[in-house]
Subunit: 376 residues, 2 copies
């Protein structure tokens, strides 16, 4: 018998939660950071490496996969897991984020969104029903409702309209999704930076009895304290026994502060994108390897790290690779960054189990604040 989708809370420490999502493709330990595999690849990483870092689940992007290679093609080839050689859980977004990020390439009405492909200019229509159809063709274990995500700042009427449209689309997605015990459809709370709208969105979605809830439309231009205030308004209104996913967030500091407010799942391109741009996340904070101070530094990024990219290559070598635009530079820094994010989440899970999550956040932040090792 195949494992039905389920979520179990194992420990709490204040509002922070340690849980486990069970799926037919394995367990997801929460709090979880999900590496982003936009085009069916976590950029510059072999799938086995991603797994070895402790990632239980990765993301695929519905919009990008719809354009290329196409959802029907991936279905014919046996689904996204087989296609990208990742037999573990996969979450797909719905295309809602592209409603914001590609706002110049799309038109939107009650029925759905029409995109003009950035690959070949062809037109694609994305409705709530088509989004779910695509996510089912991909075979995603966790699927997201189509929503209208808008950038901040925005005026209240605009935010409210997008939130209300997202709720109507959630209903249509639920209908289209139907009964799929092995998979989950998550609703997405919208409402911008208005606590009242966030609460109304959370309450309405909660009543729909979905298998999990995401918090969308954050980290889209607002300061961190606004984002945290929105989490404080939203998380308590969501059912405690369902997983909560803060979409597209964020820095290591964002992650810890969101976990402290009851969030269970995260995804963000930050560790992979920063790696390709010469930035390393470490327990000393963020380090820019392009900086000349590293040119003659024989020390590794962090000799205590479990990741070979952090412990077995000198900063001088990483500096050289980054300055020379060598592929290995991006490969090593992406590896280091994903390792750092996974280790940070593993630390959070242990700290919650041990009831010391507050101390964990404090000592981690203090280490970031002390900054990098003195230059040689």
């Amino acid at each position: 018998m195949t494992q039905a989708f389920s979520f179990e809370l194992k420990a709490r420490d204040g509002a922070a939660r340690r849980g486990e999502i069970l799926t037919q493709r394995g367990a997801i330990r929460t709090p979880a950071f999900m590496p982003v595999g936009t085009a069916a690849t976590v950029k510059a990483m072999y799938p086995g490496q991603v797994r070895d870092l402790g990632a239980d689940i990765v993301l695929g992007n519905t919009y990008h996969l719809m354009l290329r290679p196409g959802a029907e093609r991936i279905d014919r080839l046996g689904g996204l897991h087989s296609f990208m050689n990742w037999p573990h859980p996969i979450l797909t977004d719905s295309g809602g984020f592209q409603v914001m990020s590609l706002s110049t390439l799309r038109s939107l009405n009650e029925h759905g969104v029409t995109f003009k492909s950035h690959v070949d200019g062809a037109k694609y229509e994305m409705t709530p029903e088509r989004s779910i159809e695509i996510q089912c063709l991909l075979g995603a274990d966790i699927q997201m409702q189509l929503d209208e995500c808008i950038a901040l700042p925005a005026d209240a009427a605009r935010i409210e309209a997008a939130m209300e449209l997202s709720l109507r689309w959630a209903e249509r997605c639920k209908q289209a999704f139907g009964e799929r015990p092995q998979q989950a459809l998550f609703g997405i709370v919208q409402g911008g930076d208005h606590a009242g709208l966030r609460e109304r969105s959370a309450d309405t979605l909660s009543a729909m009895n979905l298998k999990g809830y995401a918090i969308g439309g954050l980290a889209v231009g607002e300061p961190q304290d606004v984002m945290l205030a929105m989490l404080e308004a939203t998380c308590p209104r969501l059912p405690a026994e369902k997983p909560r996913y803060l979409m597209g967030v964020g820095t290591p500091d964002d992650l810890l502060k969101a976990v402290a407010r009851g969030v269970d799942m995260f995804d963000c391109v930050m560790p992979t994108r920063a790696g390709r741009h010469g930035q390393a996340f470490t327990r000393f904070g963020r380090i820019n390897l392009r900086n000349a101070r590293h040119a003659d530094d024989p020390r590794p990024l962090d000799p205590t790290s479990s990741c070979p990219a952090a412990s077995q290559y000198s900063r001088a070598y990483l500096h050289h690779l980054v300055r020379s635009n060598e592929a290995l530079g991006g490969m090593l820094l992406t590896w280091n960054n994903l390792a750092y994010y996974q280790d940070l989440m593993q630390g959070a899970r242990s700290a919650i189990e041990d009831g010391v999550f507050g101390l964990y956040c404090e000592s981690t932040s203090e280490a970031w604040a002390r900054g990098d090792l003195p230059a040689l």
Copy 2:
């Protein structure tokens, strides 16, 4: 006591040779293909992966490393082996190839070559003495004399002058190299497509009693049969008890035909560069993954390959990665190609030991000629 540089012939099959070069950093099984690590990195490969494919030695490029990050810097950082995290043997070229490839950016006279850096426009003088000095700073196990390499076709007087200059530079390199029992300086036979010049060059270099001999100035524009004729003129004039290295060559077919004529060592950017451009070397010949025929093909490149890149990813997925310019496409195809080259050389070594090298070449060529699997 540190291992002095030595070469031992273990088996012969016709003119083909199976040997072993011993160095202070380990043995090099010949015939050997040496992956190219121009800028202190075999492009898009982790060093451990290169080693795991069976590579005993890699190349570094003197000219590129001189410009960036600089030979003196690498020396301060503990040498090239430590810098690039490759504790095994390294061969460095001398800059002579760039005398040809960067002919618009340099001026040459008896004393040496002056390059204008393609990185920052600064001027660098490369003399035979400076080339050896740089290679010693890098700590290369096998070092090459500075030579004048010229493109073909070229007129006889021009070829002869470059060959004679290269011989004078070989003497100066030998003086500069001095006594270094743990390292080797190789001379480079020049002479273009003139058997008589090749013979004179080989005879003069042989009399210099260097630790190995390279054959340069081939695969620079001439047809394969001309290259093979030059090997037939040259190899028999070189001392049998010294390793022979055909520089910058070539296709898998070039390699087998050169081994059959007595060559022991090879380097070429072909497997790595082709990989970054969507090409896979396989026992079915060369496959272009950009081709639309692969878009829906769930079969791996070669299910019998020992390399995960060849056996665990579908052609459809590789096609998608290549078309989407995803880093993983170049990573997987480079990995596949280097694995193919290393396996080809391992097959050659076994076949020579077993006295069946002719059959090995025949069956390998037949498989290439049959071409790729029929499209689905």
